[in-house]
Subunit: 340 residues, 6 copies
């Protein structure tokens, strides 16, 4: 199927020097518009030779800091200040972003579960296909900005997978640290076929996934963190000149290197109700401690159901909203990683 | 209409000594249940003579700390430890609580906008009517626990209205302070006909409204705050014995007495988009400063729209989720109140 | 409010001799029809002097035998064969009947909970108001045909309330027995303000409510039962000539006279799940026996929850569909009534 | 209930000289905004003494010409050019206008069926109540601009009711003619309790209702017609100076004076399907002619069902969309009115 | 996948002489019907030798003239009057036609975007697959009748693509002109993979697409136009005898030959709001003229946003409903084509 | 695609001796849970050597007897009492079972129409893929328990297809009879690609489909029938010891061997309305008799539409709910099968 061309069009010429701002346009036939389309803003800034970096935000709606930070970057970045090419798409799954929800309201799909997409698929699949087939081949590195969204609260972190290719692994690791997030996280394994992550990694390129922001809110502190991290990365790749803004320079402790090494680090609800965590983010939890409990407000005869820690670790991520359904993730524990 | 009896029934006898746990039962005819009903858990603990206090939570769904704190109180409170009567309804608008949303999913109504209710109205109105006509007359004080819910983040506070009756005003003020919230807030005027607040105040009783919790999350720190505050109030009213747990005893600064004196303290969005606050809760903002701005992710030619402070004050309450619609509240500023 | 005229119109003249078939017409402004209307078929057959009987079906959608039986009666009844007046509305809440569901899909209301209605209310209330203000005053007796609908399975019965007025009670009792249902049921008390029943009874008229049909199905045996019962009633009132078709003449045992005397006869689910009845309709159950149990297919660690009989009696009515929600009625027991 | 104050607020002072543009603000508590509000733009222009005229548009969404014409008028009108006061609310039921549908998406109500409204009702009722209690008392004349909306196509007309008060009738008639619509229409009777029309007429004021626009479209020709008509009315009332733009001056035939005198002029569908009109707007139809027919695309054995003219007349109004439901209006015939 | 047989069945034998009327039957398992099916009426008329023509309507719901015209043709056509075979499916996407909307309400798909379909796909894909695999191979020519639907108003036209095969191009051109539409339109390129058009063209057959009808309405003038055009085509192909009804014979000007040669002819909204066209259909517009503007009824501080003509041409197609969303088509300009 | 691994995981080891109870876990990203999952209970009991039998229930929601019977079996079965392996999944399409509806509420798909599934498809397809690729290869026989669900009432039967492989046919036939259902049914042909049936049969294994239960209800008599049948099968396969519980031993007539040999046995509605069957289940119907009729409650001028028997036979299956839509199955007739 991938031989088929994408129905997505744009007036932007990726090879043109200078700064271009326009749209990715997808045909979208609706009941109220036979010949409607979806317009996804994109900015391309290019100057001479140098690496190409793609910044994406809004793969999920309801994750705001990255979107706002990239909208600002789109406005500010000028060709004369860079060497190379920067492609910025602050709200890649625009229908989801405008709806403020994780999934596209058009086809109810999660953009970060459908890569490499399909040219004749639903809207979300068509977006994925265009990025995969047209944009990724242009890039040396891809930085994807997420947040916890409505359902998760977390300590802001920049993450990467353990990669088999040593060079790719080292280059990705160096870039991860340049972002200067409070936590730099190595993840051994994520279930997910369909992730943008794997699509990029398989091409041998650098891929980073930031999780900056919690519970569907937009924190000014976290926006600032993203603003700095994004510019640090541009400097790290030699696209922008100037010194990186380290955490030390900001008067902050160094980024904490951690890992989420196994399925035991994840804890899920085995009943629906109201989840009461007994710990705040960053707290240390011992294996077999009770992390929290699930309450049943409709029936006073049912005792709260405890969630027991399967391993020891720091509470990196916890359930965002109070209510929870069976099978939902309620706590992720992380361990410090010794790289000495 | 109020002469008509409520269709709500319960097996609880409010005058009986001891502890009773049961349900308020409302007939609820659905397509999938001709003779269905809604069962709202209620606990009544009574011992001898003493005041009657009603604790309510869950007037809105998605406001969790109060619900959880009152479910625990319902379990723990024993008649032999009290003097008087405590009525606890942790999840008064149960359908909204189970849905995790502010409004009842049955009739789309806000329980805290429909008092005094109607015996032959919709489900939410029937709940309000029963509370108003049957439960409130039994009470000396009513403590209603809210949180910011999905749409608001705020500094936890206990609040009251400025009351015309001096005695009522003083007694309410004393009770407010006994809760030992981070902020104790005097509110000059809220628009709202339909509030439980006014229904109770008009009867000459003590009414307190707590806002403890933010953005639809459930914070263990805030649950603890509610646990302490609720027991402090029981001691304040002489129902429980023992010393109050002051903020001082907890190693905390004293409760900050503040007020929201006018409509100028409230700031609303005049466009829909993504709201980026420039300040964190607790920050001081000068009049005419830009509090934040609204971004438009679908159109890169539209500049962000600023929100300008109409007065000086502390950021007491800010928009919870990143997205905002026209007319939504995005910032409430409060001023310190000098009562010396 | 009742002084206001109904917006409902009809081309039928209730005082005209002969047979008229037409519609009750309600204005109904929709998005797809500014000047739309709802048309409810009605048949009036009149001949000379004699009592007026109103037959209604379809107060709820999804209760089919009565609707079909009355549609046939509407076709067949001819003025020359009667003395008096017969008004037949087979599908009174037509939007609900067409949707096959208990509540009106327009306003989500139960027509049999909104009497006496309101001239300026929602669609269902307007229907109730017209019947109450315009049609009921014309009638001597009202026969309302229901079935269990989607949510209930039951032994077909004709029922009446215990009435304070002795004459009214006796006349109603005689009419109930003329219907020749398998069970004739005395009901001491039903919660329901808003019932058509009370509206008619308060006017001092005869009111009968049949429950003929189960679980949203349409049984040919039960249709035949309704066909016979409806004609028997017309003969009982002297409107039709001829002999009544007794159960004896049909080779059936006599109608069993029973009662549902108290709230203890009703059993409700106290958890949602799959309800497994241990008994079939008509079985005798002893007090404290387990009537059935609720299963939880999503969690194998939760034991089924038993439903215990609060009294002894015959299983008159049981839950229709397998799934059940908290608060739903799952079993009604009836006792034989000795009138000797 | 009308003694209760409206919850609607505005920063506009109706008595202030000059031009003010602001909002009517209604509190609107949603799941995604605890303290949300609806903001309805309003413009008030005042200069010295003179009559007060209220122009409203958007009582229904999906009726566009009036909304656009009044938005332009709001921009252009300057206090120095007028004598008196003009109040302009181009999109009174703003939620319906933004949804492009007749009914409010919030409460599913038709604003022009709920007057005089209710201060504690649903959103649409609150809007009606504010207009009724606060704005109407300020006015001498009210001009309400409608169109056919999605469901109706019609010849643009300005209309009035036959009024019992001779002076009121004559003044209204003169104003109707000043609008210079293609048709000026006398309507003997409309069913509708709840109309803005009656609310104004009962106060003894001038009320005009324009129907300008068809089938949910926006025609530049009709916008121009509204632009001229609205300014003609301002001149007619002596608020604007200058000569009226007559139809003669536009090279058009004079306004045709017609009437819709009885229920026989309205024709409704008695089955749902696709309605095929045999006539275009403006065609003359004889009584008993077939106006059109209803097709059933799902069943080729069903013959089309004819609609027969109940009277002779001009086709003034016909069904907009092809599909039709039972009870919908499909054709309105009008007759010429001889006033010589 | 195409080797798999279609689940669609019919009692019609395509090779049988005479006239057959029946259904295409698709299995359709619903919650309310385990073994349900969709029945799409089809008529096949065959007599001796001669070409096979397929007429389709209702690929989209809400496009009525073609459906009605083909339902009439299905009734009237008799085998003794023809030579060859005529297959008529007036409402191919029946679920969409019955819903009066463009997309199927079952799977939310546009039938004219999913060719060649899939035997194991969703309902709309299964319809496409059956037509593609079973019906198209039987045909020499396919005539597909559309209209603007809810979202577009247009000058009625018959259209074809520029085809690479000269013979196919000439035969199609001749057929296009035989329809005698007001405009005959050459289209250089349409985005659309998934169109029925391409599926037929690739098989080397004649394909014509008519757009007859506007804004979801049903015009008697346009039905007549379709009635004549359809019969003209049958005569053109030698299936029906008799003379063609030319526009000249109808006293009309000749069909205007036009083209839409490039993407610049299409104009889209870059904001959502109310679209006010400054031109009527058929008007000539110069490049860089303002075609219309978008109004924002919710905010009086936002100026209307202009739509600028990217080329000169006749307004062939304009937005149907007043409201518009970002990315929607608002104007298509066409140029006269000189074929001398 | 089938080379790709399933995203479904479980803690159960199929090769482990003893009894294991746990979940199949599917990742399920929702708006309210980024990292959510669906947990489907499964029980595996293994002891030594012997055949492997898979019991499935709940392929459709709303079919309850099989689910309840298998939940009990899951509880009761102990490894020490068996020889071989039993895999039990009582509610395979758990989301549909919890919703009480045939189709999954997540993707609106029928699990028994999507085999062999797809590892990267929607939720229902992922379930099918896991069963097909991982579980079926482990099995010697598969017993799938269905019921009529909401839409069908039927005589309880166990069924099989006529199979081409004689050994497979004989073994399946023997197993069918061991279930001891009231009817044992041979089905010549079912339309359905996508059935679990074909997936198993193609692997050369034994497959049986029970239809036990009617109209969405849960009958204690039918649960007992399933309980006995399931244990009989375990004995038949030599997994459980002990004697089979024959119908004779239960005092019942022997299982009636019948067949549904052709499409003529199925009768469908050709109009939507209320379906009145003239026969009860088990009645004998002659060809050309009227089986029932469809009523139209909205229009008294439309005569009921008869359904005529296309063949003679016993009424095996009839429409469950009274209302019916065009194309729905209303009656299936079966004939006795002579195997002497």
């Amino acid at each position: 199927m991938s031989a088929k061309p994408s129905p997505v069009t744009t007036t932007i010429d990726y090879e043109q020097e200078g700064k271009q701002r326009s749209y990715l346009r997808l045909p979208h036939s609706r009941n109220s518009s036979a010949w409607g389309s979806i317009l996804i803003p994109m900015t391309v800034v290019k100057n001479g030779r140098g690496p190409t970096v793609l910044f994406t935000g809004g793969l999920h709606g309801g994750e705001y800091e990255g979107v706002v930070s990239l909208m600002k970057l789109s406005r500010e970045l000028q060709p004369e200040t860079i060497q190379g090419r920067v492609i910025i798409i602050p709200a890649l799954n625009l229908p989801a972003v405008l709806a403020g929800q994780r999934l596209s309201p058009i086809d109810n799909k999660d953009l970060n579960r459908v890569f490499p997409g399909a040219w004749n698929g639903t809207t979300t699949q068509v977006i994925a296909h265009y990025i995969h087939d047209v944009v990724l081949p242009l890039c040396d590195a891809v930085i994807d900005l997420h947040a916890g969204g409505y359902s998760l609260s977390l300590i802001p972190y920049m993450s990467m997978h353990y990669l088999a290719d040593e060079t790719q692994n080292q280059q990705t690791f160096a870039a991860m640290q340049a972002f200067e997030a409070p936590v730099s996280l190595m993840i051994k394994e994520i279930s997910g076929e369909g992730l943008l992550d794997y699509a990029v990694e398989r091409m041998g390129k650098i891929f980073l996934c930031a999780e900056v922001g919690s519970a569907g809110t937009l924190s000014p502190t976290v926006v600032k963190l993203a603003d700095i991290g994004v510019r640090n990365l541009l400097k790290h790749f030699g696209i922008l000149e100037g010194e990186m803004m380290t955490r030390e320079a900001q008067g902050l402790p160094p980024s904490r290197l951690m890992e989420v090494p196994s399925a035991k680090n994840y804890h899920i609800a085995i009943a629906g109700g109201i989840y009461e965590s007994f710990f705040e983010l960053g707290d240390w939890i011992e294996a077999n401690q009770t992390i929290g409990q699930i309450h049943f407000p409709e029936n006073f005869t049912w005792e709260p159901q405890p969630i027991i820690a399967q391993t020891s670790g720091v509470l990196l991520c916890t359930r965002g909203p109070g209510f929870v359904e069976i099978g939902d993730s309620v706590a992720v524990l992380a361990q410090d990683l010794d790289v000495s």
